[in-house]
């Protein structure tokens, strides 16, 4: 039984990290209807900046973490400014391809640094001993990761629900012209959406980097891994991202816990999310929490 509970706990932990990684995608999509395929690269950049600040510059890791979030905040904002602003109103394929191209450009830039090909790991700053409760254990790194995830997600939910700026970001996604007419600066909202996405990406990068070590390939592949999560959650719902993230985490852990090694199956954890996603999309084409178009005819 403790095996089962361990899988559940691991699933939730992994799932909430997925949720955090997915958050950035949701934020961007929510306001500007852009699916960002360069998110993985921003995640990686955030993690490497933190590493650079702690190890090379020598900042305390907590400050480095914050600083890296701030840096990616502005980085993502300028990315939006330079590349995506011109594409407002272009067809979806152009926008998808621009983010793919962008990802490729960032790849190239990261390959210019040693981070592109070599492995690093964050200095340890948390207790190494695990927290164990009734045969189920969780590491401090994971616990802190989950806490940060929920803090950030809670913060963003509040921001979108209660603050005027947050509401206006949602308003832009609803009706750009209407938003402009009440004085919302649409470009600024887009910039802000990217910036907050960058911020959350940095957080995700640091947490993932703490768990897997810093390897560019592993880190940036998260940009793709979280797509099923985002789609399952319904693209523009933060709550959806959390629920879908945890569902996907559980599916993965259960798949690798119960399917792998039996009946000649292996690596099912990697593919199950996509299969489940396809099945769910057939029944709920807008994901679990996606917005259905409200149409009054």
């Amino acid at each position: 039984m403790s095996y089962f509970f361990q899988i559940v706990v691991s699933g939730v932990v992994v799932g909430s990290i997925y949720a955090l990684a997915a958050l950035g995608l949701v934020l961007v999509y929510k306001s500007s209807r852009v699916a960002n395929f360069a998110h993985g690269q921003i995640i990686a950049a955030g993690a490497f900046i933190t590493y650079f600040l702690t190890v090379t510059v020598g900042m305390p890791i907590f400050f480095a973490f914050l600083a890296s979030m701030i840096i990616t905040f502005f980085l993502a904002m300028s990315v939006e400014r330079i590349f995506l602003r011109r594409l407002i109103g272009e067809p979806i394929i152009s926008v998808i391809m621009v983010t793919i191209g962008l990802g490729s450009i960032i790849d190239g830039l990261i390959y210019l640094t040693p981070f592109g090909t070599e492995n690093y790991s964050f200095p340890t700053f948390l207790p190494q001993a695990p927290l164990t409760l009734g045969g189920v254990s969780i590491s401090w790194t994971q616990l802190v990761g989950v806490i940060i995830t929920f803090l950030l997600i809670g913060g963003f939910s509040w921001f979108f629900k209660k603050s005027t700026v947050g509401i206006s970001m949602r308003a832009v996604s609803d009706d750009q012209f209407g938003a402009m007419s009440v004085g919302i600066s649409v470009p600024r909202v887009f910039g802000l959406a990217w910036a907050t996405a960058g911020l959350s990406a940095a957080a995700a990068g640091c947490i993932i980097g703490n768990i897997t070590g810093l390897n560019f390939d592993t880190l940036h592949s998260f940009g793709i891994i979280v797509f099923p999560v985002v789609i399952l959650g319904g693209l523009d719902s933060i709550l959806g991202a959390v629920v879908a993230g945890i569902i996907m985490g559980l599916i993965q852990q259960f798949a690798s816990g119960y399917l792998d090694g039996n009946w000649g199956l292996n690596g099912t954890g990697d593919v199950m999310p996509y299969i489940i996603l396809l099945i769910i999309l057939l029944f709920k084409p807008h994901g679990l929490f996606g917005v259905h178009e409200i149409e009054r005819v």
């Binding site: 005027t164 206006s168 949602r170 308003a171 009706d175 012209f177 007419s181 009440v182 004085g183 409200i294």
Partner: protein, 268 residues
């Protein structure tokens, strides 16, 4: 009319560098009044409004000639956000409420450009429900599910949240039942009195618009063809015929009336 809040002087607007929509439009809106801009479909009313509120750019339009002055500031080259900050807010055609936001969120969004503290905003927010009691029952419903009339009220309330000096309405009567149209225009008049907000309304429904407004302009093919105080215009036979559907004899207008084409020409 010594104290004009809005002054539009001879503007020309061109879309996509090819299509000229406005051919020298001039009008002025005195402070505290209600001014109406009337005209048929495609006359250029909406374009005029967009030019005033700085929203031409998203539609690929540009002001080529003339200037617009609001409250003493030249706003010809300004963008929407800055115009709103100056205190001129538009309620766009077709309401454009945010469908997936609740009614209250819709109203709150309007205050985005304000810098005078959250307490004041909260007060204004409550005020809106006094102006539009209908909305107070549905504050937490998704705006997309509201009826057309409610949506129009939401849109007006949203615009008022910016505490504007001037409120511009683009065809508030569009697609609404006559009773609702009346309610909306009563609201408009009320707002003008209570909040001392100048109102500039674009309408096709000349009868209602002339009833509430102080002064009115009539547009056709990108030009102002007639202007005057609302009482005057109400009595103008041409206006009566073309915009209110009343013939000289007082009966309903008939399609058999072939003279209309000639008469229309005389204005230009």
């Amino acid at each position: 009319m010594e104290n004009n809040l809005l002054e539009v002087n001879n503007i020309e607007v061109v879309y996509n560098d090819i299509i000229q929509v406005l051919r020298g439009v001039s009008l002025s809106v005195p402070e505290g009044s209600i001014v109406a801009l009337l005209g048929t479909n495609g006359a250029g009313k909406t374009t005029t409004l967009r030019a005033i509120s700085g929203l031409l750019k998203p539609e690929n339009g540009a002001i080529k000639e003339g200037y617009i002055k609001f409250d003493g500031t030249d706003t010809t080259k300004m963008l929407g956000t800055d115009v709103v900050k100056l205190g001129s807010v538009m309620v766009p055609e077709g309401r454009r409420v945010f469908k997936h936001l609740t009614v209250n969120e819709n109203i709150l969004v309007g205050s985005i450009t304000r810098k005078d503290g959250s307490r004041k905003i909260r007060e204004d927010n409550e005020m809106m429900y006094k102006h539009f009691p209908r909305l107070s029952k549905v504050t937490n419903r998704m705006a997309g599910y509201s009826s057309g009339g409610e949506q129009q009220m939401i849109a007006i309330a949203r615009a008022l949240m910016a505490a504007p000096k001037m409120l511009m309405l683009d065809e508030p009567s569009l697609g609404l039942a006559p009773l609702l149209v009346k309610e909306i225009f009563d609201n408009i008049k009320h707002i003008n009195k209570e909040l001392d907000t100048t109102i500039f309304v674009v309408e096709q429904n000349a009868k209602v618009a002339l009833a509430v407004s102080d002064y009115a302009y009539i547009m056709e093919s990108g030009k102002i063809v007639l202007e005057g105080s609302s009482e005057e215009l109400q009595d103008n036979p041409d206006v009566k015929e073309f915009y209110m559907g009343i013939t000289q004899g007082g009966g309903r207008k008939s399609f058999k009336d072939v003279k209309s084409y000639k008469r229309r020409k005389r204005w230009m």
